[in-house]
């Protein structure tokens, strides 16, 4: 049995309410931006649901958009239904001054290190995480290096100035 995208979206809407808008992108991935206060509830409902079985956390990563005021930092979740081949992408955005996102380690054990990695690189504070420490960088580090305010190369270097090709 295979569900059509409309059926899946209808099902997802019933779990989240009309506040969230689901859409299908051109690669047949259902995605939505979801408010932070609904995240844990939605994840939990999806995990426990036995009809669509979107209960496999594939990927979790952070993202930083400095221009989106009030929604600078984000977390992207990829969920999958192994049985029905559904790929779902959920995003939450939080302000950079108070980057608090509920942790989903209570639902997925796999989220533990993924959230630690996201904290390590973006400084997103996962509330309720059992052990939120840095994981890949050293413990003494104070910055969150994947944020866009840390460019990879020093843009003011004179010896590599290359005005013609837009470096």
């Amino acid at each position: 049995m295979k569900f059509s995208n409309e059926e899946i979206i209808q099902f997802l809407q019933s779990k989240t309410g009309s506040e969230v808008l689901f859409e299908v992108d051109r690669y047949n991935v259902i995605q939505a931006e979801i408010p932070v206060h609904q995240l844990y509830k939605t994840m939990n409902l999806l995990f426990k649901d036995l009809e669509f079985k979107i209960s496999n956390l594939i990927d979790l990563c952070g993202i930083h958009y400095p221009e989106n005021k009030g929604k600078e930092l984000g977390v992207v979740y990829h969920l999958q239904s192994l049985q029905y081949k559904i790929l779902l992408r959920l995003k939450v955005f939080v302000p950079i001054e108070k980057p608090d996102v509920p942790s989903i380690t209570g639902i997925y054990a796999a989220a533990n290190w993924m959230e630690r990695e996201t904290y390590d690189f973006y400084g997103i504070n996962f509330l309720g995480h059992p052990d939120l420490r840095r994981i890949l960088n050293m413990d003494e580090m104070v910055d969150f290096p994947m944020r866009k305010e840390f460019p990879l190369e020093d843009p003011f270097r004179e010896d590599k100035a290359d005005f013609h090709f837009g470096r």
Binding site: D25, R26, Y27, V29, Q31, S55, N56, L57, I58, D59, C61, I63, V76, H78, L82, K85, L87, R89, Y108, A109, A110, N112, W113, M114, E117, F121, D131, I135, L136, N137, M138, P145, M146, F150, P151, L152, E153, F165, G166
Partner: protein, 408 residues
Amino acid sequence: MHTNLEYKAEFLNPDMPEIPYSILNLGPTHPATHGIFQNVLKMDGERIISGEQTIGYIHRAFEKIAERRPFYQITPLTDRLNYCSAPINNTGWYLTVEKLLNIEVPKRVDYMRVMVMELARVADHLICNSILGVDTGALTGFTYVYQYREKIYEIYEEICGARLTTNMGRIGGFERDFSPKVFELTKKFLVEFPKVWREFENLLTRNRIFMDRTIGTGPISVERALNYGFTGPNLRAAGIDYDIRSHSPYCSYEEFKFDIPVGTTGDTYDRYVVRNEEIWQSLSLIEQAIKKIEACEPGVFHADEDKYYLPPKQEVYRNMEALIYHFKIIMGEIEAPVGEVYKAVEGANGELGFYLISDGGRSPYRLHFRRPCFIYYQAFPEMVQGQMLSDAIVVMSSMNVIAGELDA
């Protein structure tokens, strides 16, 4: 031995009088861990009470570096993820970019990719299983089969000139056609290797000592494995037939005939047996791929995408358009479409995913590698809890944790 880390593990029962447990630092550079991993184990004699891993010793900030590089320069970064099977990583990255750029590659390229990817899978599983033999005390099998990894590397060398970090292929295909020697070497490999591998299996698979060491060691249930995000052979050993090659086929895998082996208990022995069987399936896939390549029109080895595929050098010197495209590609003038792509391939030890966000520039806005090792290595303390120290070594090598992929 003591560690300077603050150790947080709880005692099993707080009412119990405090037993002097010992803390053992396994690693970071222990010869038995095959890479730079630190495990702080809490031991009761030789039993493991609990453990905690420290990772990140070879973190190289690939995701950050990728944000400044044009797409074709990110391939060498993917080489260094799981360096035991670099061609799979390369192809996974190309498939992601091709999905973003909407490039259709010819069938022959698909088959060529299948051929190198399955060779890489054989090389990876070969190392994992023979090292598992070494960790249980059987060095002979390892020294015997290891020269066949060398033969695979000779095939890589003939295809692209490199051996370990291959940087094989280009966006849209390969940089050059496979020479006749590639097929010659591969066919020779397909004749010689099965005999050797059969002999290796005879040494280990029904060996009493090996079975006693591995059966029931480091088991994981299906539910826990799924919850921990297991993929690849480790998940299949626990009993779920999730293989991306058949779940959501890429590179024309739907045209190939292969079986997906599954285990039952998810212990070390099951992982070993599943990997063994996958080697046989891969060998059959290579054979099918060669047949399919030979049935195709010869000389097709890339997609006709002037905008993304470098023109041949002799054209660049003689032809105006080719020169322009060469210049634009090399200088990163060609801009990618805006979009978000998640593409996963079946890596040698699990689902290797690439999450690419392009904002239209020459390099990705954000690139995230979904590294299978990083996700399933979390389960290690749970799997070795209550087992012996020597079992922990065996479990670790059977999980096939590769440091480069773990730390990215």
